[in-house]
């Protein structure tokens, strides 16, 4: 069934691109927020911050379709490239830009005292980030990250442009075969809705678990 295959690809792309996006996003967010929070950023940090800003502007400023096309037809031109890998890479890099700004807002909203407490105990920058800042920032921006993943899920629908069959494409194929305008479209919409509802539910559970130590206020 087209739908099953398409759904499988949609899920694979979304999940791996999301993971890549989170990894990239966290790194970028750390760079950007370290820069913004420091009085007098060093030269290395300033260069990194500049690169990060260009990345954010270009990636968020151009249509993801164009990015996917450039990666697939412009960069990985070898006929042997594994299509799904390129797509995951393109979406991961795209998503990373959005995740970065989201996570940055989570980091910026944390009290600077958290970092200071970590550093004052003798933890280095990296230990402080991974043990203290990131877990809290992640928890704080989980709802916004949810938004981002929902967007990502639906954005993967453009991968038909590089010949990948995803859920939307599966619907299009059925539309072209049956000449039925609405039904395949609605069917696909319902599947997206179900995925989103599962995702929202999972995120809600995760959020509650992460917040278990918190006082209800």
């Amino acid at each position: 069934m087209y739908i099953v295959n398409g759904l499988k690809n949609t899920l694979i792309i979304t999940v791996f691109a999301a993971l890549l996006g989170i990894a990239l996003g966290f790194v970028l967010a750390i760079i950007r927020s370290s820069h913004d929070k420091s009085d007098k950023p060093g030269i290395v940090l300033r260069i990194l911050n500049f690169i990060a800003k260009v990345y954010l502007t270009v990636i968020r400023g151009t249509p993801v379709l164009v990015q996917v096309m450039i990666w697939y037809f412009g960069v990985f031109t070898s006929p042997n490239t594994v299509k799904i890998m390129v797509i995951i890479l393109a979406f991961g890099i795209n998503s990373g830009a959005y995740v970065a700004e989201t996570v940055r807002s989570g980091i910026m909203s944390l009290d600077i005292g958290q970092t200071e407490a970590g550093r004052s105990l003798g933890l280095n920058f990296f230990q402080t980030m991974t043990n203290i800042i990131m877990p809290q920032a992640f928890k704080n921006v989980l709802p916004a990250l949810g938004n981002e993943f929902i967007t990502l899920l639906k954005e993967t629908s453009i991968c038909g442009y590089v010949g990948m069959m995803d859920l939307t494409k599966a619907g299009d194929i059925i539309r072209s075969q049956t000449y039925d305008q609405m039904m395949p479209l609605l069917g696909v919409a319902v599947i997206y809705l179900v995925i989103v509802m599962i995702l929202v539910w999972l995120l809600g559970k995760l959020e509650r678990r992460l917040r278990s130590g918190e006082r209800r206020s």
Binding site: F73, V162, D172, S176, Y179, Q181
Partner: protein, 257 residues
């Protein structure tokens, strides 16, 4: 699905008709709302009417099926579309009909990258052979006409595929030229490409993608040929090469009864 000669000069027939009346032929088009599918030959020729003094509007839809829905709801006056899908739309919708007068005739060709004239020549040779030995007509006969049995062309059992793989880019949403049957792309274009590959002693691999990506696949080297009911135009020749034509088709006008 995409561009040769309109049957009559588009701009010339634009004087007489009444903007509000029904479309009964090409002469009625000026002043109407015309629906087309983006990038089809119908789109390209309808564009000649756009912005004329009669106020013709061309609405370009990503999918033909959506243009047809707009027509059914009366949001547009007619749809110009390839003959084959048009037949299916009309058979499934009692309130639609195809005008007898075709809008344009067109001929399909295979596109190859400009740097690859060696391949183009080989394909032209193969096409000439296939036309000569009747394979081409036989393939088309399996998919179009009264005797269509939707049977795919099969390579001969002893076919030689030692010259590597020929990669074909297409958009399998355009039956009977190409559509999906399970995992496989089937249809006239697929069969012809396979027949050509056999002639070249190559394996065929079909990569199904969005129509808008096919040229890019060919120019970037991801695919060797693009076969998707493409029509040759001057503008397009600036950017890609086309082989000789392999099939004839026409664009027709659908209207509400």
């Amino acid at each position: 699905a995409c561009g040769s000669e309109p049957k009559s000069d588009a701009a010339a027939g634009s004087s007489s008709s009444e903007a509000s009346g029904a479309v009964t032929g090409m002469d009625d088009l000026p002043g109407k709302k015309i629906g087309v599918q983006t990038g089809t030959t119908g789109d390209i020729y309808a564009t000649d009417y756009e912005g004329d003094e009669a106020g013709t509007v061309v609405e370009r839809y990503n999918k033909g099926v959506d243009a047809v829905m707009s027509l059914k709801q009366g949001k547009i006056d007619c749809v110009i579309i390839d003959n084959e899908p048009a037949k299916v739309f009309v058979s499934e919708n009692d309130d639609l009909k195809i005008l007898d007068e075709p809008f344009a005739e067109e001929e399909y060709a295979i596109c190859v990258d400009k740097s690859n004239s060696e391949l183009k020549d080989k394909i032209n040779q193969a096409l000439t052979d296939l036309k000569a030995d009747g394979t081409l007509d036989e393939i088309i006969g399996h998919w179009i006409g009264d005797s269509a049995d939707q049977k795919s062309y099969e390579s001969a059992a002893d076919a030689d595929h030692s010259n590597g793989t020929l990669v074909m880019a297409t958009n399998a949403e355009f039956p009977p030229y190409e559509s999906l049957d399970g995992e496989n792309v089937v249809g006239i274009d697929a069969d012809i490409a396979r027949a050509i590959a056999d002639k070249l002693g190559m394996d065929l691999r079909i990569d199904n993608m969005e129509f808008d990506s096919i040229i890019m696949a060919v120019t970037s080297g991801k695919a060797d040929i693009g076969v998707a009911g493409m029509t040759v135009t001057e503008d397009r020749l600036e950017n890609v090469d086309f082989t000789d034509t392999y099939a004839k088709a026409k664009q027709v006008i659908i209207v509400k009864k």
